[in-house]
Every structure is written in C-alpha cells, then in structure tokens.
C-alpha cells in the first residue's frame, strides 16, 4: 500500500464529507485541497465558493490566497462580497463550510482571535475574517486542526466562531441552525453527540491509540462505542494530491517515504 503523509490522509478524509452537487465555502490549505480532490474524484458537480466572491471556480493552479486570480478566470460568477454574505451564506445556500483555527474546544467552538486575554493578548491571531459567519450560517461545518492539548483545550480562550457553545441546546436556543459536524485532526476524527453536543472520537488514523489521543486533548474525551480506523488515502487520491493539486508541496510540505 502506498506511503502517505498525515496531511494527505486528512485531505482524503475531508474530501469524503463532500457530496456531488454540494455548494461549498472553501478556505485555503487543507480545505481547498479536499474540495479539489472531491471535485476530481466523486463530486464533479460540486460548486466551490470563495468569500472573495468567486463562484463555481475551476482553479488552474493551487491558490495560495482566497483571492487568487486563478479563482476568477473561467469561474461561473464573480459577485460583490455583500452578495456572498447576504445572498449565499445568510440566505442558506452553503451546504458545507470548512474551518480551521488555533483552538477548537470540547463543544466545537473555534478561536482564531487571541491566545490569552483579548485586551492583553499573549498571541494576537488574525481574527475571524469570514469564519464567524460561516460557523453561524452554513448548513454544516467541517473543522480541520492539529491534535494537542494546546489546540484542543476544554474551553477556547475566545469564541471567534460559535460551535455548540456550552453544549446541549444552547446553539439552537440562540436561533442558530447547522453547527460543526466533524473535526478532522492529525490523529483522528471526531463527531458531536446529538444530545450533549460534545466532541466524540469516532475514528483513529492508522497507528494511533486511544491513549495517545487522550494524552493530546484538553479534556477526558469520550470514545464512540464502534471506534473505527480512518481509511487511508487511495493511491489515486495520493497521485492527484501530489501531481495535480499541490505539486510544489506548498501546503503539504513533508512528503512520505
């Protein structure tokens, strides 16, 4: 079986969340690679939307920013950002939004604003950009992040993008639909308990143990009764990622083997 990197596995797993015909709000990095992989594999009818206003993109090269000119050339539509947020996102047209961040907590809340106190930050991060509205208004959200006590604390320092807040029905009670559906890390995959809305480990990547997961997460994480192994990327997926999507290895630097 082909060698692959953890990033390639994450890209492959994220791609499986996308159905043909989905309207997807795409970010840069793993999300962009995952959507383009799904587009080439099982979802040719996928519609990629970037917050910059490009709709139905067919990028001829890997965009390193969400406003790259290659997203415009040959796209189906280019619209003002006012329309992206009002008519696409708030209107409810976005099936899947991909998000990352510096921290994701037990209830899927995301922090991309500050580490430490907002007024006197230890580390000042870029901030929300479009993340908060994607988390609030997309039909479903898929999160990719590293698996460590630092990146997966019990409670984020700052809720930039709302997940299930403090769990249970709190998100719905504030009038928000959707919410995070899946968290894909470099060690495993998590879903959210339908009642408590708490992150639950549902699959581990090949070679990872429950103990290793528990040592690298900020709370006593629950484990699904039927815990599976994350399917590794197929040789075809690896070929597409390496040869077509990221030939210079800009986002997936460490190649395997």
């Amino acid at each position: 079986m082909a060698e692959y990197t953890t990033s390639e596995l994450m890209v492959s797993r994220a791609a499986k969340e996308l159905k043909n015909g989905d309207v997807v709000f795409v970010g840069i990095g793993v999300p962009s690679l995952a959507v383009n992989l799904a587009y080439r594999m099982h979802a040719p009818g996928i519609c990629m939307i970037y917050e910059s206003g490009a709709v139905g993109c067919v990028p001829k090269r890997l965009p390193i920013s969400i406003g790259d000119p290659c997203l415009v050339t040959g796209s189906l539509a280019v619209v003002p950002m006012l329309d992206v947020f009002n008519l696409y996102l708030q209107r409810g047209l976005i099936d899947v939004g991909f998000l990352g961040g510096a921290q994701v907590d037990r209830f899927g809340n995301i922090n991309s604003t500050v580490i430490g106190d907002y007024a006197k930050p230890k580390v000042r991060l870029p901030g929300s950009g479009g993340a908060c509205e994607i988390a609030a208004l997309a039909k479903k959200v898929v999160i990719t992040i590293g698996n460590s006590k630092r990146t997966l604390p019990e409670r984020v320092d700052f809720v930039t993008s709302p997940g299930y807040l403090r769990g249970g029905r709190e998100r719905e009670s504030l009038g928000l639909k959707g919410g995070p559906e899946l968290v894909i890390t470099d060690m495993g995959v998590y879903r959210f308990d339908p009642e408590t809305r708490e992150m639950v480990l549902v699959s581990m990547h090949p070679g990872v143990t429950v103990q290793k997961i528990k040592e690298n997460i900020g709370w006593d994480v629950k484990v699904a009764r039927e815990l599976t192994e994350t399917p590794p990327p197929t040789p075809e997926e690896i070929r597409i990622i390496r040869d077509e999507l990221d030939p210079q290895g800009i986002f997936l630097k460490s190649k395997a083997g």
Binding site: S52, I64, N109, A131, V159
Partner: protein, 301 residues
Amino acid sequence: MSKQMTMKDAIARFVRDGDLVVMEGFTHLIPFAAGHEIIRQKRRDLTLARLTPDLIYDQLIAAGCVRKMIFSWAGNPGVGPLHAFRRAVEQGKPRPLEIEEYTHFGMVLRFMAGASNLPFLPTRNYPGTDLTKVNPHFKTIRSPYGDEELWCVPALHPDVTIVHAQRADADGNTQVWGLYGVQKEAAFASRRVIVSVEEIVDSSVIRSDPNRTLIPGAIVSAVVHEPFGAHPSFVQGGYDRDNDFYLKWDAVSREEAGFQKYLDEWVHGLPDRAAYIKKMGARFDELKADRQMCEPVNYGF
C-alpha cells in the same frame, strides 16, 4: 470635468492627518501606490479601516502613520501574521495601536450602511461569538415582524476612500472586473474618493459597457493614472499577484529593523510609483497577465 492629477497631488489634497482612511480591494486591486505616497507625505494619527489590513496597512503602521485600525482579518494571506500589527498590539511597539474588530460580513455591512446613509444594518450573524462582548459597537434590535432579535453593526463613514481599478475616464467613471470586494460600498460611504487606475480611457470606452461601471464619477474627487499601482497585489487581466513577494515578506518584516530597511529603500527612497516600477525592473514582465478575453455583448436597440 477632468479630475485627473498625480498621486502626490491627490494625497496632498484629499488625505489629512487624523482622517478615517479606507484603502479597499479584497486581495485584488489593493492600492499600494497610494499607501506608499501617504507614508512619504508622513500623514499621522490616521484611523485605517479595511477587511484585511494586508501588507499595505502593516507598512503604514510600521511607518508610524496609524493611531487606530478597524478590521476583520489581520494576516498575510496563506503565509502568516502581520508583524508590525502584532508588535503594536502585543508589545505596543513602536506605539500602541487601538483596534476595533469585526468580521468580514460585519465590515461589509458597515460600508453598505454608510453608503446607504442608514445608521446601521442588521444580520443573523453573531449569536454566541465573543466578538460582541469585546466590541461595544455591536448592538441588538428586535424585529418588528415576529420578535426575533438580530445583531446590528453601525454605519462607517470614511473621510476618504482610495481604490485601484483597471480603468476610468478622466471624470472618474471607474470600471472593475474580477473580484469586486467592497470597493463600491466603501466609495459610496466616503466623503471623498480617490481612484487610481491602470489605464485612463476615453469616456466612449466606459460608455461601450455601462454595466461594468462600479464607481460613478459623481462621487470621485481625484483620478490618478498609476500603472502597476496595485503591486504586490494584482489586477485581473493586467498582472498576477506577486505571491513570491508575499511569501518573502514574512522574513523581511519579522524584525522592526528589516521592516524599516524596506520602507527606506522602497518607499522613502523613491519619489513615486514610476521609480518603483523602474526599480522592480524585469519582475513586472514575469507578472504580466496572459490574454483571456471575454465574449463581447451587444448594447444596441
């Protein structure tokens, strides 16, 4: 009548110390030439508003022009942090920077409310985020239809908005294609508007395709002919984004000293954009866009 003038004159006449200044363009068409001229003319105590401060505002911060920044995403896209911004916010160096923070949606609505002369606009966004706790300008309103509660953001009214575009006529009727960002909303929200363009064209070119006009001359104060005025940002159909520049910028700007060295060499050390182009030399040939023309349409009747 013609509003065409040099960038030097446009900045001198329409950008003042203490102004609320907006230089928009989402990744696309960022008016770097205008930003450099503001640095050269040593404007002070500016409040800068922009969705993505990008390198342009980081340079203005390092140059000491900025008192406050209103923004929604402060990073070097796909690369890393904005180092001058982080130094100012984390360590107060060279001086503290006041910040007022929103999200992209919030900034877009602030511009649209200003452009529409409304005090605010509502959105279904923001329940549950901590942003509304640290920024008192977010307020709630109860819908008079049913009684849902909605968050609102207040109108933004810049003193001056500066945008770069592919082409305009001398009266300031400005056309843009490719990513629109929020240039139109920012311009209409503003008291004064400066437009710099790759090409000044006869009005007949504008009039041949009126649906492409993004900003009407009626709201424009100055038009500047500034080829390559957006570099290292890009112009669809003109030149590519200089991704190498953005990648290398991280090392250039990481230390205060290196940052100042760049400003001395590429901003203070040069009289204008023409000199910048000359100094860039062959790089612009590499960035020049391929030809991919649209299908023309018929406006006859």
